[in-house]
């Protein structure tokens, strides 16, 4: 119980005070939804939220495709330096985020400068690319885990019944990977939506994301509007993560019975 309180007390406080009828976060003055109204009317904040969603959506699609292909490559084939590639796949997970952020900053300013005057959403390119670079390895690991439970006899059965490689891929392998694909996608989406450090280093003056915007608001003053914005982010992330975990953990059969081809 103490652990639960320890873990969640700050979050619950933050959420509770988003409903506080006061300009300061110190004293409870009564319940209100005003701060949510303020947050929703803050055009900068909404623009940042839109950016975040766009970045998350694009980077999710690309990471899932890249991650799935990487997972299949590692699962299916043997090739020189395979252990090295498998190790490298874990790197974005273990490398300190601040280092990733600095690396991305250096890369996008000195090696391949991303033009800043592009129209929306192309101006988000640098952020999207950096998000893909860390989230696709999470996706690959999730799908790799899913593939480990694949019964190779299914593939042989399809081949035995006359299917070629391409048909086997679409008819047998992809349906098996589906829960992994969904879980990986949700993971990539939440990772992208939440990311502050790497985004902070790669975002330009006109391309703030939701977490970066919240950070800049805090620098002025911690109003309950910040609390309200944070609460929205927390709820969104928790919901998506829970969904991802459920999809990963659910019995294969149940998922496949639920949304089979």
């Amino acid at each position: 119980m103490a652990v639960v309180i320890y873990l969640y007390a700050p979050l619950i406080t933050l959420m509770a005070f988003s409903f506080n009828d006061s300009r300061r976060n110190i004293v409870w003055r009564g319940f209100t939804l005003d701060w949510y109204k303020v947050a929703f009317e803050d055009t900068d904040l909404i623009a940042a939220f839109g950016n975040s969603l766009t970045i998350a959506a694009v980077s999710t699609v690309v990471s899932v495709m890249l991650g799935a292909l990487t997972a299949i490559l590692l699962w299916r084939f043997r090739f020189p330096l395979k252990p090295a590639l498998e190790g490298a796949l874990g790197l974005p997970i273990v490398v300190p985020e601040i280092c990733m952020g600095v690396a991305m900053l250096v890369f996008f300013t000195q090696v391949m400068p991303w033009p800043t005057d592009l129209i929306w959403p192309l101006n988000l390119g640098a952020i999207i690319i950096s998000h893909i670079s860390f989230s696709f390895s999470f996706v690959a690991i999730v799908i790799r885990g899913r593939l480990a439970s694949f019964n190779r006899e299914l593939e042989e059965a399809a081949k035995d019944l006359g299917a070629g490689e391409w048909r086997i891929f679409w008819d047998v392998l992809v349906p098996h990977m589906r829960p992994g694909l969904l879980a990986g996608a949700l993971l990539a989406f939440t990772l992208s939506l939440d990311d502050f450090v790497i985004t902070f280093f790669t975002s330009g003056p006109d391309t703030t994301t939701f977490p970066v915007k919240v950070y800049s608001m805090v620098r002025f003053s911690v109003t309950p509007e910040v609390n309200a914005a944070s609460t929205i982010l927390i709820v969104l992330t928790v919901a998506l993560t829970a969904l991802a975990l459920r999809l990963q953990g659910t019995d294969v059969a149940r998922i496949e019975a639920g949304d089979g081809v």
Partner: protein
């Protein structure tokens, strides 16, 4: 009775398969006739599954060739071969309905929808799964899933149906029922069945012919009856059923009889047929437990007389050391003079039969001159 001439459908010609330095299949030549229910039998790792997978196309022979209907199929990929397989795990596609599973092979072949539906319906009827078409595999029992796998393979009307350990995943009762059902199904569709099993009962019960394999080598190819009664080696005699094996010397070998002397038995073994082995060579006498008769031994009781054997042969004194009561029969472990344990099996023909003999009772073991099999290797 002479068999009608059969057309050869599968021919393995000097097929060898190596995995690195390991010989999985060692120079196997084997023919299977059209319409046979053929079993590849052997302990795990004997190469039987490799042989089956080479026929399906999932493995390629290191040497030799495989012919189906006289055509060398060595270079034909698995999805183009006129064979279909029922996998050990059944490999039913979990995300498709039963009907979609069965239709899959036809869909891949581009069979027209109406024709496809008709054949799927027919195949499901054949395996007694009418009305199950809309179900998902996870709503089926293991036995039903196997039927789906069967229907899925049969619907393509293969030249040969391959079955990899078809009954090993079923429980004992269902396994028994499926044996006769598979034989009936095979008779009905008339397709050649080739199945792999490590279970000798299964092979004897279902197969019209069996090939016994050990360590990559083909040991014997024969009907179940011949395999059991006329094994050609110690391996086959021991692998199929239960057997008492005595090592001995061939002391008499005439056209119409032979005698073997074994240090493990106090009396000689008389046989009513010649052996055609070298005189004084080492041979093995294989004697099935059910072919040994048990007789009471003691004061005033005569020695059993089997009439077809000369005096002093095939009758051995011993003492019962252990009894396993199996219901329909009892297995008696008898220590014969000299200390060697010998197993004898006795059917419990009446309800009181198992009371005839008891532990530590002196008995005679006797067997007919035609019962032992003499093995040269």
């Amino acid at each position: 009775m002479a068999k009608p001439p059969q057309k050869t459908i599968i021919r393995f010609e000097n097929v060898t398969k190596r995995y690195g330095k390991v010989l999985a299949v060692d120079n196997v030549s084997l023919s299977v006739d059209e319409g046979e229910f053929f079993a590849l039998l052997g302990p795990s790792g004997c190469g039987k599954t490799t042989l089956l997978r080479m026929l399906a196309g999932f493995e390629t022979p290191s040497e030799g060739r495989i012919l189906i209907d006289g055509q060398d199929i060595s270079n034909v990929p698995p999805n183009k071969r006129p064979v279909n397989m029922v996998f050990q795990s059944y490999a039913v596609f979990p995300h498709m309905t039963v009907a979609d599973n069965v239709a899959y092979g036809l869909k891949v072949d581009g069979v027209h929808v109406a024709e496809r539906d008709r054949r799927v319906h027919e195949a499901l009827g054949l395996v007694k799964l009418d009305g199950y078409g809309a179900r998902k595999p996870d709503q089926l029992s293991g036995g039903q899933r196997q039927r789906v796998a069967l229907a899925r393979a049969l619907v393509k009307q293969p030249r040969v149906l391959l079955l990899d350990e078809p009954l090993s995943a079923l429980d004992a009762k269902l396994r028994e029922a499926m044996r006769s059902e598979l034989t009936l199904l095979q008779e009905k569709v008339g397709i050649t069945f080739l199945f792999v099993t490590h279970d000798q009962d299964e092979a004897l019960a279902m197969a019209s012919r069996c090939a016994v394999m050990n360590r990559g080598l083909l040991q014997q190819v024969a009907t179940p009856n011949d395999l059991y009664e006329y094994p050609n080696s110690r391996f086959v005699a021991d692998f199929i059923g239960s057997v008492n094996m005595f090592e001995g010397r061939l002391v008499v070998d005439e056209a119409d009889h032979a005698v073997v002397e074994s240090p493990e038995l106090p009396t000689r073994v008389f046989l009513d047929h010649g052996v055609t082995g070298a005189h004084e060579s080492t041979v093995w006498v294989a004697l099935r437990p059910e072919k040994i008769e048990l007789h009471k031994r003691g004061e005033g009781r005569p020695m059993p007389d089997l009439e077809d054997i000369p005096e002093g042969c095939n009758v051995v004194p011993g003492v019962i050391r252990h009894i396993s009561y199996l219901g329909s029969e009892s297995v008696y472990e008898v220590e014969v003079e000299g200390g060697r344990p010998v197993r004898a099996l006795r059917s419990n023909l009446t309800r009181r039969d198992q009371e005839d003999f008891t532990w530590d009772e002196p008995v005679w073991l006797a067997w007919h001159a035609c019962s032992p099999a003499v093995l040269l290797s």
